[in-house]
């Protein structure tokens, strides 16, 4: 059975291909279009999935779209008429895109893929997330928490997942209806802090560590909790029906003060141990800490409900599962046997859910459910030879304008070292990392989801604040309040983090923030946040042998097999896809070394 899962139309368009229960290829469209969170039809992601598996469109048994456009349309229409007669611009903008494109998704899929409309199926938005989480977990049974801003008509759905005759049975046990949405509440506070809602929630999460939850009680008063883990939000503080105009309203501003001004957080620096928070900034970091605490409370409440009524295995997905600090709190709960968070828990991952569930819709069944777990390196891979050859033809003087205020202002040439043996290459790279170089690390097929897990990563040694700061300002161009993550070899994981966390699969995918053991704090201080936590990736040999070897080799020199690992991209761009994009970033930033498969390039 061959099924293609598709998600697009809101953000993070993606395609995934499953063959007989095995996920064989998956990619977000933005990797190919360089438009971060690209929501457009995933033409190139589909092309890649088919090419990778060497099949054509006519071989597909089903094409499954991740949500139900008619359901969603009724919600959009209802929301826009709710504020009548003050919602004309909302109505106009949404109707233009819905009536011309979004409502006719199935027609478009049928036309683009030249397949009969009967071969196009739809799942509910949250169900796609749940299918991704449950089928990919390999659990026999589980409780599934899906939290995001809003799906078709719901913001949170809790499911119970079981298997019957080799097919997944995923049933909703609790549904929280829009406009009650803690996801939207979190996004609204993100907007209050001056960031883009639905994109920069990670900033709110990062800033929370700088503050204290002083506004927690006041924020909690806006929520009425029910015993069955449902809740209602006091909508008089929000603008969820007219999100185009912003998620918060005058009443919210009156209660909590004016929204943050641009660049107010520039003084928050997690690489400066002597850093002091300014009073004006403190108000906003406290707001971030308060909403973070509220969100954590909710997620743990949902988990307790599942533990009490349904299962000790928990799967968690939806945009809310990208909050690794809340995931960390979840992982600390007593009584959880297994916790699974997919590599891409967001809308990109719902294409995976659609593809996997599509296999079963098309008649596939599987007795050994552990076989359905899928690896994370399912994106596209490239050969780098021709790209490197073209770099050698470039006159570095032509690049001066990009490097004029950097340490490479007088760049003379690129030194290319080609290795036939990966062991020698790893030895060289670990030496360069020890010598405080910023290394772009590009290997094989790319990771699915937003986290760089050792195939599209930028690496530095983990104990140097200055180097981390240079990485933030001269390479990544990102705010200093955002901490970095750490990759640690499975051999040394217990030295860095508590044994309790190591059992969770989420740590292989950098999805759970954990405290760092005191004895290791100094060794990894550049990837520890101000609250002494980090977001570790435990790399084992089976998952990524080359990266595992690099970590161990570096560990021989450094004393701990750990590296600071951040995604291979610049601010505003998605994770890089091809060697050419890696080269572009390498030549125009202060990255010192670029490793493209077995080729090492240095700036001289």
């Amino acid at each position: 059975m061959k099924t293609l899962g598709i998600s697009y139309g809101y953000h993070d368009a993606a395609a995934a291909l499953a063959i007989d229960g095995k996920l064989v290829a998956c990619s977000q469209e933005d990797r190919f279009t360089r438009q971060k969170h690209d929501a457009n039809f995933p033409r190139y992601a589909v092309e890649y999935c088919l090419e990778q598996s060497n099949i054509s469109l006519s071989d597909l048994d089903l094409v499954v779209y991740h949500e139900n456009p008619v359901e969603k349309f009724t919600r959009v229409l209802t929301s826009s008429f709710y504020s009548y007669p003050y919602s004309f611009s909302e109505f106009k903008n949404s109707m233009k895109s819905w009536l011309t494109q979004k409502l006719w998704v199935n027609n478009r899929l049928s036309k683009e893929f030249k397949v009969s409309p009967f071969k196009i199926k739809n799942l509910d938005h949250h169900f796609s997330h749940a299918a991704n989480a449950f089928i990919g977990s390999g659990f026999d049974e589980a409780g599934i928490i899906i939290v995001d801003a809003v799906g078709d008509w719901f913001s949170t759905v809790i499911y119970k997942g079981t298997w019957q005759e080799g097919k997944p049975k995923i049933e909703a046990v609790r549904k929280i209806k829009f406009p009650n949405s803690l996801g939207l509440f979190y996004s609204a506070v993100t907007e209050y802090l001056g960031f883009n809602p639905n994109d920069q929630e990670c900033n709110t999460m990062a800033l929370a560590a700088f503050g204290e939850p002083k506004f927690y009680d006041e924020l909690e008063k806006l929520v009425t909790w029910n015993e069955d883990c449902s809740y209602t939000l006091d909508q008089s503080f929000f603008n969820f029906m007219k999100f185009y105009d912003g998620g918060i309203n005058e009443k919210f501003i009156e209660k909590f003060g004016s929204a943050a001004k641009k660049n107010i957080f520039n003084n928050c620096d997690c690489f400066d141990p002597n850093f002091k928070l300014e009073e004006t900034t403190k108000h906003y970091t406290d707001m971030a800490a308060s909403i973070q605490r509220l969100y954590e409370k909710y997620i743990t409440t949902c988990a307790r409900f599942i533990l009490k009524e349904h299962s000790t295995n928990i799967c968690f997905a939806g945009g809310g599962a990208l909050n690794c600090v809340a995931n960390g709190k979840l992982a600390q709960l007593e009584g959880i046997t297994n916790l699974y968070i997919p590599a891409d828990p967001g809308d990109g991952g719902s294409a995976v859910g659609a593809a996997l569930y599509g296999n079963f819709m098309a008649g596939f069944s599987e007795k050994d459910v552990s076989r359905l777990k899928y690896p994370v390196y399912l994106g596209k891979g490239y050969d780098e030879k021709l790209d490197v050859a073209s770099l050698q033809e470039i006159n570095p003087k032509e690049l001066k304008r990009y490097l004029k205020n950097s340490k490479y202002a007088n760049l003379n040439f690129f030194k290319v070292l080609e290795f036939t043996d990966s062991k020698q290459m790893i030895d060289k790279v670990s030496e360069l990392l020890m010598d405080k170089n910023i290394v772009g690390w590009y290997q094989g097929r790319s990771e699915i989801g937003p986290r760089a897990l050792g195939n599209r990563s930028i690496l530095i040694r983990p104990d140097d604040y200055q180097l981390a700061k240079r990485l933030s300002t001269k390479v990544k161009k990102r705010a200093a309040f955002r901490p970095y993550a750490v990759s640690v070899s499975s051999n040394d994981a217990d030295k860095l983090i508590d044994e309790h966390f190591i059992k969770y699969d989420g740590l292989k995918k950098m999805q759970i923030a954990t405290p760092v053991k005191d004895e290791c704090l100094e060794k990894v201080k550049a990837c520890v946040h101000v609250d002494k936590s980090t977001r570790p990736q435990i790399c084992d040999e089976k998952e990524n042998p080359l990266y595992h070897e690099l970590l161990n080799k570096f560990g021989e020199r450094f004393g701990l097999s750990a590296l600071l690992n951040t995604s291979f991209n610049e601010k505003g761009f998605p994770l890089i896809d091809s060697p050419l994009l890696a080269l572009i970033m390498f030549v125009r930033t202060e990255m010192d070394v670029l490793v493209l498969n077995n080729t090492v390039i240095l700036k001289e």
Binding site: P85, F91, S390, S578
Partner: protein, 225 residues
């Protein structure tokens, strides 16, 4: 004929820069965002061209051009980023589609880029002549300088890639016609959008009152459940 087109373009630019941009900063920022998006699209098309060429020398030339175009996109973006809530003014991402297929010779794509560069340079020159914004003028001056040199560079690659002069000439004319047609479609679409807006306004304000009662009851029911 060409000079008539140039005159019309200049007058259009003057009208936009001196009236629309002056009175509506939002419109100015949206236009700048559109310029940035156009430069980014050129980058994207060139990335495609890069992988269609095998000669490392030509690839290197495309590589440096990609860097420059990306730099231009960033320069335009910086003009927007200095404002509060800059992201509100950025144009949404368009659906990407390669201009030429894998089967087409790569010089055709480069010819398209060449015409695009030339048109952009001409348009930016007109804006520079009309604008009183020093930041914008500074940015445009840099970009015009680069674009002009790209035109010469692209022209020489076309010949090096083995295209015959007559073929290039025909292709350039074809592209110019396509671009004129595309511009016509864009303008027609804008007029059509005004009509659609008017129709939607009629629907909203006439039927809205009735529908809004139903919408309110649905949402109230959901709020409290």
């Amino acid at each position: 004929m060409t000079s008539l087109f140039n005159l019309i373009r200049y007058l259009k630019v003057k009208l936009v820069v001196n009236t629309l941009w002056r009175w509506s900063p939002k419109s100015y920022l949206r236009s700048i965002s559109l310029f940035s998006a156009t430069e980014s699209d050129t980058v994207w098309q060139l990335i495609h061209a890069f992988y269609m060429i095998e000669n490392p020398k030509h690839r290197a030339e495309i590589f440096t051009q990609i860097l420059e175009e990306d730099f231009h996109a960033k320069q335009f973006e910086d003009l927007i980023n200095i404002t509060e809530h800059a992201d509100n003014y950025k144009v949404p991402f368009e659906e990407k589609k390669f201009l030429y297929s894998k089967e087409d010779p790569v010089w055709k794509l480069l010819a398209y880029c060449y015409i695009g560069e030339k048109d952009a340079a001409d348009k930016f020159k007109d804006i520079m002549a009309c604008s009183h914004n020093p930041d914008l003028k500074r940015t445009l001056a840099k970009i015009i300088h680069d674009e002009t040199s790209h035109v010469g560079q692209a022209n020489s690659i076309l010949y090096e890639l083995g295209a015959k002069p007559s073929e290039i000439k025909i292709e350039l004319w074809r592209i110019r016609l396509i671009r004129k047609y595309e511009s016509l479609v864009r303008n027609t679409k804008r007029i059509f959008e005004v009509i659609v807006d008017a129709l939607l306004a009629i629907i909203y304000f006439t039927m809205g009152l009735l529908v809004s009662f139903k919408a309110k009851s649905i949402i109230l029911d959901r709020k409290n459940s």
